[in-house]
């Protein structure tokens, strides 16, 4: 087992032939240890209880609406709550695509910036540089929303038009005339990538900075160039941290509410469907946020939106399982 925090004393037999101290028994049962352990476990327990409660709340609210649903929940693109006729295809597509676009843009940048700040930047620049990137995290999402919708989107129209002209033959990049003003899935992905950049960068930076000097020196001593040193020492060391950071970023992108709501054009239920990134749409979170204030007076209607929220919940679940598998496999591979 490679987890940190475990100690060699976990494996050695204790004095007087007592059974080996393993993990949580590294302390020897002193009062302080017991209290502290209880507090830590209790906090973990609170997290579990909260998540279970939220899940239960989602389920309980969603079930009546799902029972009354006249459309297929998994295959319908419509979302109407009076009468209840809703499916998640459009939401799932928009949510996943905008987040993936965000991740695809943000992760390479985040890694590069983190490397820059920890390995390349001159000393005088490293600290302020890090602070500057952190600044992006200081901008609240509603400001990103207003900025994106009112300032950037109009300027982004020519860029999108250019992409459509050049790459219009790619099915995902076909122009969608009914969505104007640049407020497309692609554009939301771009804004989301800016929003999640600081969180991925910050963690990657911390992790890269902790690369043991011996590893780096070893690589250099073996004649590696700086880039080879990074590729062989820094990146492998930081990989689990970067993945974990990316997942945090992805979680934020999937659940981002107010910025998406302000920026993304929604499309009407009956609109002709296209898989293009230049389409509009709603994400799970933006749909719920724009409709909850009116729907909350009617729990059956609310249930339809909550059912969508439940899918988002499950989606995050799946993403995390995948991330975990990646991390675990990586560990096994290294050892």
């Amino acid at each position: 087992m490679s987890s940190t925090g475990a100690s060699i004393i976990d494996e050695l037999p204790g004095p007087d032939g007592r059974r080996p101290l393993s993990g949580d028994q590294a302390g020897t049962g002193r009062l302080g240890d017991r209290i502290f352990k209880a507090a830590a476990s209790g906090a973990g327990g609170i997290v579990v209880v909260l998540v279970v409660l939220v899940g239960a709340f989602l389920l309980i609210t969603a079930i009546p609406a799902l029972r009354g649903n006249t459309a297929n929940f998994f295959t319908s693109r419509d979302f109407t709550t009076s009468p209840l006729h809703f499916g998640i295809v459009q939401l799932l597509w928009t949510t996943v695509m905008s987040s993936i676009i965000a991740l695809v843009i943000a992760v390479p940048f985040a890694i590069a910036i983190a490397l820059f700040l920890t390995q390349y930047a001159p000393r005088w620049l490293a600290r302020p540089g890090a602070a500057v990137i952190d600044l992006l995290a200081a901008v609240p999402s509603i400001v990103y929303g207003l900025w994106g919708a009112y300032v950037v989107a109009p300027k982004f129209v020519p860029v999108q038009d250019a992409i459509q002209t050049v790459f219009g033959w790619v099915p995902f990049l076909k122009g969608v005339p009914s969505v104007s003003g640049g407020t497309t899935i692609l554009f939301v992905g771009l804004i989301l990538s800016i929003m999640i950049l600081p969180i991925i960068t910050a963690i990657s930076r911390e992790v890269f900075a902790q690369t043991p000097m011996t590893h780096k020196e070893g690589a250099i001593a073996l004649g590696a160039t700086k880039w080879e040193m990074i590729r062989t020492a820094v990146l492998p060391f930081g990989k689990p941290g970067v993945i974990s950071a990316s997942m945090l970023g992805l979680g934020r992108a999937l659940g981002e509410t107010i910025a998406v709501m302000l920026i993304l054009s929604t499309i009407p239920n009956g609109a002709p469907w296209t898989w293009s990134f230049f389409n509009g749409g709603s994400t799970f979170a933006s749909l719920i946020a724009s409709n909850a204030p009116e729907a909350i007076s009617d729990m059956r209607q609310m249930g339809a939106y909550i059912a969508a929220g439940l899918v988002l919940f499950v989606l995050t679940f799946v993403v995390n399982v995948i991330a975990r598998v990646i991390i675990e496999r990586r560990k096994a591979f290294t050892e």
């Binding site: 109407t80 709550t81 009076s82 919708a149 009112y150 109009p154 005339p177 009914s178 969505v179 104007s180 003003g181 407020t183 709501m261 302000l262 054009s265 929604t266 499309i267 009407p268 239920n269 009956g270 609109a271 509009g280 709603s282 724009s290 409709n291 909850a292 204030p293 009116e294 729907a295 909350i296 007076s297 009617d298």
Partner: protein, 371 residues
């Protein structure tokens, strides 16, 4: 300080100073006369609340409500009224959940959803819907070179349902002789958030032209064309930025976004949206509530001359008898001010229409009956 704040609005400053004088002399609850017919005679004697009251609901009346609160607190320094534009649905939920003293809503409590019963349970007495602000819905457009446009009910339904897609469509041109319409495609913008405005506008289209708009009214958009933008600010901004854009928005937001508004020809010639033409629609409405419950049914199909029928009656939903008499006194004081012709007269400048005088009287009588 207070007069300085509202100094920009001459009418209001006048009203404020008049009633400031009145405020000092007024005693407490029940002193208000509800004559309020046509004259300016009733600018006086509404009393001031003293305790803070909390309310929430429709964003359609947010601007009117802000204005009312500003003017009311200008004359009653001791009063504190909070109104939160969270949406009618949450406004009603907050009210039923005893979070607020009254709710602002774009529609009366709906018996289908069992809301009157729930509200009665929360109040311990029947809840009343009091129409307070008339919010006309403007059909706002942006077509280069077109500053005057006349639409008919079926043209509106055809445009918003996507059956007419170009501005120079013969059907539009037939109603707008003398206007040179470009071949710009029509971009329909609708509200992406659920809203009472959408609900009323779709109700209008479904009533006047069920062939072109067959779906029932809905708080979220049921059309087949167009794109959704958040809130009135979003649709307003989108139309402003898009040549060929058209949307529906509360009048106040059409004004602040400086949008052109279409005139409506329901059969007796084009009618522009003015406080008078919108007020007439309310005057022609029938009361569906009983007693002091003044919920209204609007006559969208009216062919009467000079009526602009796409209006939204926004209600304040109150308890007929509050458990706490101080709350009752405060709510009464504030609503009495809101329903006074002194305040209603200033509504046009914030993009709402005043209640017709006959209605003001009814509403005042109902407010007096609150205990």
């Amino acid at each position: 300080m207070n007069t300085k704040r509202i100094g920009a609005a001459a009418t209001l400053a006048l009203a404020g100073s008049l009633s400031l004088a009145a405020c000092g002399s007024a005693s407490n609850g029940g002193s208000t006369t509800s004559s309020s017919s046509t004259g300016a005679s009733d600018t006086a004697s509404s009393s001031c609340g003293t305790a803070p009251i909390k309310s929430s609901g429709s964003t359609a009346q947010q601007n009117a409500m802000d204005q009312a609160i500003a003017a009311y607190t200008a004359k009653c320094a001791s009063a504190k009224v909070t109104y939160n534009g969270v949406g009618s649905g949450q406004g009603i939920t907050d009210f039923i959940g005893k979070q607020t003293a009254f709710a602002g809503s774009d529609s009366a409590l709906s018996p289908d959803k069992g809301e009157p019963a729930k509200a009665q349970a929360a109040c311990g007495s029947p809840a009343w819907d009091l129409p307070m602000v008339v919010g006309p819905i403007a059909v706002a457009y942006n077509v280069k070179g077109v500053s005057k446009l006349t639409l008919t009910p079926d043209l509106i339904a055809k445009i918003f349902s996507g059956k007419i897609t170009k501005w120079d469509d013969p059907a539009i041109a037939a109603r707008n002789s003398g206007v040179s319409l470009p071949a710009t495609p029509i971009s329909v913008f609708f509200r992406s958030d659920s809203s009472g405005t959408t609900d009323n506008f779709t109700k209008y289209m479904n009533t006047v032209d069920p062939t072109d708009w067959p779906t029932k009214h809905n708080k979220s958009w049921d059309g087949k064309v167009g794109q959704g933008k958040p809130k009135s600010a979003g649709v307003g901004q989108a139309v402003q930025a898009t040549d060929g854009g058209i949307t529906y928005a509360e009048w106040s937001y059409a004004i602040v976004n400086k949008l052109n508004m279409a005139e409506l020809d329901s059969g007796a010639g084009p009618v522009a949206l003015t406080p008078e033409t919108a007020g007439k629609a309310i005057a022609a409405a029938t009361q569906t509530g009983t007693g002091n419950d003044l919920s209204l049914k609007l006559d969208y199909k009216t062919k009467a001359a000079g009526v602009y029928p796409i209006v939204l009656a926004t209600y304040e939903i109150v308890c007929s008898k509050y458990a706490d008499p101080t709350v009752a006194a405060n709510v009464k004081a504030f609503l009495t001010y809101m329903a006074s012709s002194e305040f209603q007269g200033t509504l046009a400048s914030v993009g709402s229409a005043p209640l017709p005088p006959a209605f003001q009287t009814k509403v005042q009588a109902a407010i007096q009956a609150i205990s």
